[in-house]
Amino acid sequence: MRFYEYESREIVKRAGIPVTKYGFARTAEEARDIAEDIGGPVVIKSQVLTGGRMKAGGVKFADTPPEASGYAEEILQLEINGHMPRGVLVDPKAEVKQEYYAGVVWDGIRKKPVMLFSDMGGIDIEEVDREHPERVGRGHLSNLTEAPEFRAKEVVAQTGVTARQLTRATPILARLARLFSDYDMTLAEINPLGELEDGSFVALDAHMEMENEARPRQAQLLAELGVGDTETREAREATPFEIKGEQVDAMDHRGVAGNVTEFDGNLGLVIGAGGGSLTLFDAVRKYGGKPANYCEIGGNPSVAKAAGLAKLVLSKPGVDKIAVMMSIVSNTRVDIVARGVVKACLELGFDPAEKIAIFRIPGAWEDEGFKILEKYGVEYCDRSVSMHEAARRAVEKIQGVAA
């Protein structure tokens, strides 16, 4: 889960890392008040969960409070990559002598957090690493003991930074490492970390991402930052169709029938489980099919839940047929899913044989499931028909419809 810049800066501040005297504003008036309080030239920055703000005109420099108010007004209306800003950050324009980078990320292969530091800040660290690897310091951290400060010092020193700069930057990187682990972050970055004319170091921008799985135990921090439980902070906001999918999944606690993502095709998908859904979605596209949605079923959902998901997909505008497909199931009962999807068709007044392009779920209770499908004339297959072949047949049927 990604944090806005103003939240990230607040997190950094709590960890004892110096920040500028910034303020967050939801209106132009608030922006002017903050600018007045700062009393000098300011930067107005759009608060959106996407990159490329500068290019899109989401960052402006103002010399006076009225100017700040005017720019804030503009930026608050400006959509960037499909995101409307939540507000603006008003930041004093700092006199920066040198920009650095400080970050902590996971190394999934070593299975440890890794600290990164560079004296080339303000640009993408991956780019620095490619072009000037000698300017990037790095050091892994133990998961079982608290990060010692000397480890941060070593990382800073690797870049050749020494003297007062080394002693100032070290505690900042060490604190960043501590907050990374205390708050279950998957990414904690200060970029740029600015060295000001007076020699002090200050975080000029921050980017934090928290692991979704850790949200329950980070409830206190999230509440203090004002992050609501229902804010998913996904790359794009959930559509009404996707929200209905969540409601279907929440109907009862038996199994999963949800994780719905909307696409604009004509073939509705009722597919599962995790890896099976990924495989089947690709398979449909490989044969030229246009999926109307992604979803996941598994873990033995109730008939009502399977029916709820199928109804949702069948009711989506533009959907001509659905394909019901899974990899071999062992704890999900084939007959329950069969009952659910047939029920969905009947309740919507559709002929199951017409609407269900294919049913390919082999495994537990398949004979009972196939009996139901047989009765309604639905085309089904067992494990002797591969997942890709089933997807191909579904696409073939729906293209017959379109033609």
Partner: protein, 307 residues
């Protein structure tokens, strides 16, 4: 003959009185020559039994009751309690831990793995279905009830590793139907950080005479496939590898994760297309469809390896 487990392996089930764990215990007892499930642990439930397996409050009690070191543990406790359960098992000498639980924060997983390394133990998972040696033993819910598992899995020369539990069975069933059995199939887990990656299991398959080829199921997200490609290149492995990559559509949807927590793409190297390129550069065959896998394996076994 197999990796990780064999017919002598003893294990306990932590969280044994949960609904899923009760089923899993039954399945393991019934499959193959019958797993030696020597005890279960659920705090506060000491004195009960689950399908004849005695339940204890602590791992220490379970080990004492068995009267000898216990080889493994299947952990099925809720995410907030998993770390403590795994630490408890490690403390009492358990060397192979299969973590079924999903939605465990990465920091906890990393801590468990680091402690396991210090104790010379191994973790499989989390968010996995476990390990199966066809017709011999299964440890975890992999393949489901004994009769279903028997239908999908058969003994033979192919080692299987998969980031998806369900696809472990789909792939093995496809191999079985084509007359290719499996030496051991491992559901390695769908999270961003897991106890045993492809690379970490390869030396075990390499040392197993029965294994003559490897099939892996892979997904976008993380560097595990790139790391395998590196390992294969550096180690001159005797085992040909056939890979299948799911989730190609995700390349067009940066920042979103589908299917498993581990599929979140955090850099360019994590995408499906990039991974396929790395695997192929390392001489790994990448199948377009699951159904092609058996023939690709036969080609590769025929073209080089004898044992």
């Amino acid at each position: 003959v197999s990796i990780l487990i064999n017919e002598e392996t003893t294990f306990i089930v932590q969280g044994i009185t949960g609904r899923e764990a009760v089923n899993l215990t039954r399945e393991c007892l019934d499959y193959g020559s019958g797993a030696k499930v020597v005890g279960g642990v659920t705090p506060g439930r000491k004195g009960r039994d689950v399908h004849g397996v005695p339940v204890f409050d602590t791992v220490e009690q379970a080990v004492a009751d068995h009267g000898a070191p216990v080889d493994g543990s299947v952990v099925t406790v809720p995410p907030a309690f998993t770390k403590d359960a795994v630490f408890e098992a490690l403390e009492h000498g358990v060397k192979l831990i299969v973590i079924v639980t999903e939605r465990i924060p990465r920091r906890d997983v990393a801590q468990m793995v680091e402690l396991a390394n210090e104790k010379d133990a191994r973790i499989i998972g989390p968010n996995c279905l476990g390990v199966i040696v066809p017709d011999v033993i299964k440890m975890g819910g992999i393949g489901g009830p004994a009769k279903d598992a028997a239908k999908a899995y058969s003994p033979g020369p192919v080692g299987v590793m998969s980031r998806s539990g369900g696809m472990t069975t789909e792939i093995s069933s496809t191999l079985t139907a084509a007359g290719l059995g499996q030496s051991t199939a491992v559901s390695i887990g769908g999270d961003a950080i897991i106890g045993s990656t492809y690379t970490e299991l390869m030396p075990l398959f390499e040392a197993d005479e029965q294994s003559q080829a490897i099939v892996i199921y892979t997904e976008p997200g993380g560097r595990m496939e790139a790391d395998l490609a590196r390992w294969v290149t550096e180690n001159n492995s005797r085992l040909p590898i056939v890979a299948f990559m799911a989730g190609k559509f995700m390349d067009e949807m940066p920042g979103m994760s589908f299917g498993h927590a581990g599929t979140i793409v955090e850099g360019k190297a994590d995408t499906a297309s990039e991974k396929i390129a790395r695997l192929q550069e390392a001489g790994i065959t990448v199948a377009e469809e699951i159904a092609e896998i058996p023939d690709l394996v036969k080609d590769r076994i025929g073209s080089g390896v004898t044992s």
